[in-house]
């Protein structure tokens, strides 16, 4: 009972133990299509901003490709630059 009332001063750092992997290397995807909106949605958060590598686990080479694809999609109006509730 008393255990539940323990209040932490700072939020305990919950370790995400799942081993992160680069989905592009794993699935052997070589080209990221900037026209494929619902695939790119996996890499942006609900404000439309690009997710960092530490969350998605993608390697540097493919993170750059994803960033370029998302920026191209934004340019031609497929993805928004900024929005409040995308998903």
């Amino acid at each position: 009972m008393a255990k539940d009332q323990i209040k932490y001063v700072t939020a305990p750092k919950v370790e995400d133990t799942r081993k992160k992997y680069c989905r592009f290397k794993k699935n052997g995807i070589k080209y990221i299509d900037y026209k494929d909106a619902n695939f790119l949605l996996k890499f942006i958060n609900d404000q439309g901003k690009l997710l960092p590598r530490r969350l998605t686990g993608t390697s540097l080479k493919f993170q750059r490709k994803v960033a370029q694809a998302v920026k191209r999609a934004r340019h031609i109006g497929i993805l928004p630059y900024v929005t409040d509730s995308l998903k």
Binding site: Y21, R23, K26, N27, I29, K30, Y31, D33, Y34, K35, R72, R74, H75, I76, G77, I78, L79, P80, Y81, T83
Partner: protein, 124 residues
């Protein structure tokens, strides 16, 4: 002869045939200057993610072609001059992109996409 892919967004105001006529004009420019058109694909009217020139929908048209490099500059000048076009994007395709577009055209992608999303569920 590099391979390119160009995507244009036409204003939704113009009627179906004026849109077709604009597209035919650019196809003419390409073929006249020795470009070889590989694939054309128009997505029709789509909702834009944000208003462009106060309009919320656009008529998308995609053209894949092989062309000498200096044609691209001419093509883009034409795009800028034409006020029916709201947005355009020309992209050079590397070998992975070419393989991707061939696979997409040959329809091999429908299974791969499902296969890929299955791996995500399993791994996700």
């Amino acid at each position: 002869m590099q391979q390119y892919e160009t995507l244009i967004v036409l204003t939704p105001l113009l009627s179906e045939e004026t849109a077709k006529e604009a597209i035919a004009k650019y196809r003419g420019i390409l073929t006249a200057n020795g470009a070889e058109i590989i694939n054309e694909d128009s997505w029709g009217l789509k909702k834009l993610a944000y208003p462009i020139q106060k309009k919320t929908t656009g008529y998308y048209h995609l053209t894949e072609f092989k062309a000498p490099g200096e044609l691209i500059n001419k093509l883009e000048i034409e795009y800028r001059r034409d006020e029916r076009i709201m947005r355009f994007l020309t992209v050079a395709l590397d070998k992975h992109a070419i393989a991707y577009s061939e696979k997409k055209r040959s329809g091999a992608f429908n299974q791969k996409k499902e296969a890929k999303s299955q791996t995500e569920e399993v791994a996700g």
